[in-house]
């Protein structure tokens, strides 16, 4: 029995109309499949359209061509099977940490009296049990990410879409958050599509690492399987010999794209 495909992008093309009427093609012919229970990381240089691809999988953006299939059904509108963890702060600033987590259930019609204790449990499992009454501005960046993670996971989505979620955090906090994510993911192994520009983070977390070329019209140019044993510890997996070999191999491809990406962005800056 083959595992079902959670997310399938088939020849997806994403284009935007610019202010001056020209068409900007962000992503060209992206072909990507994420199996159920699989953790896939997308890595690419700045501006390569990796977040764009994630928004297509979420249904926030419509592809200009090609199709998106979620559990073998074409995606129409928003992806109701997916939870989305944003790069920027997305918590509701007027709700306490507890209410921010509980809202995920309340939207579905769960009575508040039932939602609150479950939200409290989730806060505890992301290590913030004592911070239930705090408002987002009273929490640190890392704590806010934990609340956001609980807010998404309490709905028990089948697919988890993550857009450089730990990007704004400092290096140590990122590793701690990575381990927390792996622990939570290990419990029920949802399909994960994780966008990052950090190759080390990608290898340490994922089952597969997908590399995108520099934009515009970026494509998927590489797909590596990471067979490091699970459960992993982010701190220790980086010392592994296999980790280093894989890192060297992927980096040799990624390096050229990163340089191209920089060249293009400086070029674009000069043009402006």
């Amino acid at each position: 029995m083959s595992t079902p495909t959670a997310v399938a992008l088939e020849d997806a093309k994403v284009a935007f109309r610019l202010g001056d009427g020209r068409i900007y093609t962000a992503v060209e012919k992206a072909h990507l499949a994420v199996a159920q229970g699989e953790f896939v990381a997308i890595v690419g240089p700045t501006g390569c359209g990796k977040s764009t691809l994630l928004n297509v999988a979420a249904g926030l953006l419509k592809p200009a061509a090609g199709s998106v299939r979620i559990f073998d059904r074409p995606l129409a509108g928003l992806n109701r099977d997916a939870g989305y963890l944003f790069q920027a702060d997305a918590l509701f600033p007027w709700k306490t940490a507890l209410d921010n987590v509980a809202i995920g259930l309340e939207i579905k019609g769960t009575p508040r009296a039932e939602a609150l204790p479950r939200a409290q449990q989730w806060l505890t499992s992301v290590g913030l049990g004592a911070f239930a009454g705090r408002y987002p501005h009273m929490l640190s960046g890392g704590q806010r990410k934990r609340v956001a993670l609980a807010q998404v996971l309490i709905r028990d989505p089948k697919i988890l879409l993550m857009d450089e979620p730990f990007g704004p955090l400092d290096a140590q906090t990122r590793q701690v958050m990575g381990n927390l994510l792996l622990d939570l993911w290990n419990a029920d192994r949802k399909a994960v599509l994780f966008v990052t520009h950090d190759l080390e983070e990608a290898i340490a977390l994922a089952d597969r690492v997908v590399i995108m070329s520099a934009g515009p019209s970026s494509r998927i140019i590489g797909d590596w399987r990471v067979s490091l044993p699970r459960p992993r510890d982010i701190f220790e997996v980086r010392l592994d010999k296999e980790f280093h070999e894989l890192h060297r191999e992927i980096w040799s491809v990624l390096k050229d794209e990163v340089m191209k990406g920089y060249a293009q962005s400086t070029h674009a800056a000069e043009a402006v």
Partner: protein, 262 residues
């Protein structure tokens, strides 16, 4: 600076001003009184006038009327501002069509509307309420309009991805955002509600603090004018204090300026 020291200095300013006033209006300097009592009265007379008002109980009726007018103006103006602000922000076409008219009405000095309202609504409280409403409405309207339009894109997307319907987005995202903008202008709009009421009373009425001041002025009772001004100031400070309490309760989730983490 410690709080008691600060308070002492604040009181000192008042004491110095009052003593100067009292001295200059009663003791001749080089044979001449610098603040003629006819134009400046003196603190003692003003104070006795205030005491007389409170002792006889006359003032309560006027205070009550002004307070009622202010509250009505604030409530009606805010309600209208919130509803119209919401409507305009959610319907860009409507906003675009009405834009020049909104700007036109808002540019109008509200005092010129007072005679019209007096004609339409009579000399009772409603002409004053109407004047206050025209002031409060625009402040609240502009703030709510801005608040709804400037909801963070990410927060909105997050709401959608969490499965919120349009109605739920309204309840959990647009509404709190708009309210927070409205509350941030609470001091201004409450202040303007009082201004509307008092100016309306001053221009034509039978009761209220503005009426009291206007009556005193009519008989050249300068002590009465000053007494009315002091009662009015105290009244506004009290209301402002109340607003601060309400605000602190409602906007706990907002970072304050001194907060390190934004």
């Amino acid at each position: 600076m410690s709080r008691p020291t600060l308070f002492a200095l604040q009181v000192l300013v008042a004491v110095v001003c009052i003593v100067l006033w009292q001295v200059l209006s009663t003791v001749p300097v080089f044979g001449k009184i610098l603040l003629p009592p006819f134009f400046f009265s003196n603190p003692f007379d003003v104070f006795s006038q205030i005491v007389k008002w409170f002792a006889s109980g006359v003032i309560w009726k006027h205070l009550g009327i002004t307070l009622a007018e202010s509250i009505l103006a604030f409530v009606i103006g805010s309600l209208g501002g919130v509803l119209v602000g919401f409507w305009f922000a959610r319907q860009p076409l409507v906003a675009a069509v009405f834009d020049p008219y909104v700007k036109m009405v808002n540019a109008l000095p509200r005092v010129v509307l007072a005679p019209i309202f007096a004609l339409w609504l009579g000399l009772g409280i409603w002409s004053k309420v109407a004047l206050g409403v025209t002031l409060v409405f625009f402040i609240v309207f502009f703030n709510v309009y801005q608040g709804v339009k400037e909801v963070s894109r990410t927060v909105l997307d997050n709401g959608r991805m969490l499965g919120m319907s349009e109605r739920q987005l309204m309840q959990h995202v647009y509404w709190p955002s708009a309210l927070s903008w409205m509350f941030s202008s609470l001091h201004t709009s409450v202040g303007f509600a009082v201004v509307g009421a008092v100016v309306g009373e001053y221009l034509g009425s039978a009761a209220g603090l503005g009426y009291l001041i206007q009556q005193a002025e009519g008989v050249f009772d300068v002590a009465g004018v000053f007494a009315g001004m002091f009662v009015l100031s105290a009244f506004v400070i009290l209301i402002d204090f109340g607003v601060t309490l309400v605000e602190r309760r409602l906007l706990v989730w907002r970072p304050t300026a001194s907060d390190g983490r934004g």
